[in-house]
Symmetry: C2
Subunit: 199 residues, 2 copies
């Protein structure tokens, strides 16, 4: 599109390459950025650069943090013998928000997905196995997503860890709280039935 | 939220302040940026800074361009006696895509909206009036949006320019091509009736 200047076109292109940003939103964003005061634009680009430069993996659980050891792993009061395995840092944050989990985490940074070429070697599975061998771990809770990739990853990890005598569990799958049965898919309903508990 | 490191929180905050980006998308974008290769992040921030530094208003029509005079205004073959008034550069681009307009433009950079404190002085109306006085203009086509703000702006400009003997027109309002009458609001249907043309 030669309707805009080269600088605008290049910016639209870069923005449209980000996830969840289509061509129209990219145009809208580009014009917003150009119309923003100079100091605000500087602050935004600096914030991006700072985050990129300072955020790294926690050396224990591989979550993204700006310290050598993340606050959860550094917390002595947490139960370090229970590890919850999640796909990414956002999932960790989601569980932390519940305030119900007292153990520590292990962040895989993805899930096994042969369709897009992500094998077990691409995510932090080896690191988890090594961590379980090195530390005194009682339970590994698999909290990967309830998707095909998440389930595959959970199965794979379970097969690796069980022979070592570690208790491996999977978070429950079922009807979400507040969910209307009528609108819930059959697979979820089937899982909810299979996982029914005594009252 | 103290679940992420300070750098991540700051980045999420900055991104969530952009238009059309909510808190969840901002988190997703932030993690994407942090996981992006260093050189790609540098290229993105550089592109933003470049666009901000190099893009300015065309001294004729006030569209955003990286030259003193935008390509449309610089084009000798365009009809410089016909000016289409649009709200922003994206609207200009939309009309350029049709390939049907041979005149030049005037970009207001907004519309009159007392609700959010935008008066006639905040947008490029004075510049349009001066331009019409300075140049030999035969027709001004008002192509502001068909919204309350766009209509108000069109009315306001029309009242300013008509006394100077300039022909002021408004783009047609009616049923969009491919639109199903059943789903179109009453105001649009009324306009389509008022604006009916002889076949």
């Amino acid at each position: 599109m030669d309707l805009y200047s080269g600088y605008i076109n290049k910016l639209v292109e870069e923005l449209a390459a980000l996830p969840g940003i289509g061509n129209k939103s990219a145009q809208r964003l580009a014009f917003h950025l150009i119309n923003m005061p100079e100091d605000k634009v500087k602050r935004l680009t600096q914030t991006i650069a700072d985050a990129k430069a300072n955020v790294r993996y926690c050396s224990e659980c591989y979550t993204l943090t700006d310290q050598e050891i993340c606050p959860v792993c550094a917390n002595e009061k947490r139960d370090h013998a229970t590890i919850m395995v999640v796909e990414n840092t956002r999932d960790l944050a989601a569980y932390e928000k519940t305030g119900k989990y007292q153990g520590v985490y292990h962040v895989l940074h993805g899930a096994i997905s042969p369709m897009i070429g992500i094998g077990p070697g691409e995510i932090k599975i080896k690191e988890l196995v090594e961590r379980c061998a090195r530390e005194d771990v009682h339970e590994v809770i698999l909290a990967t997503n309830s998707s095909l990739e998440g389930e595959t990853t959970a199965m794979y990890i379970s097969k690796l860890l069980k022979p070592a005598g570690i208790r491996v569990t999977r978070i429950a799958s079922g009807v979400p709280v507040g969910g209307d049965l009528e609108y819930i898919d059959e697979v979820t309903l089937g899982r909810a039935l299979d996982g029914r508990v005594e009252l």
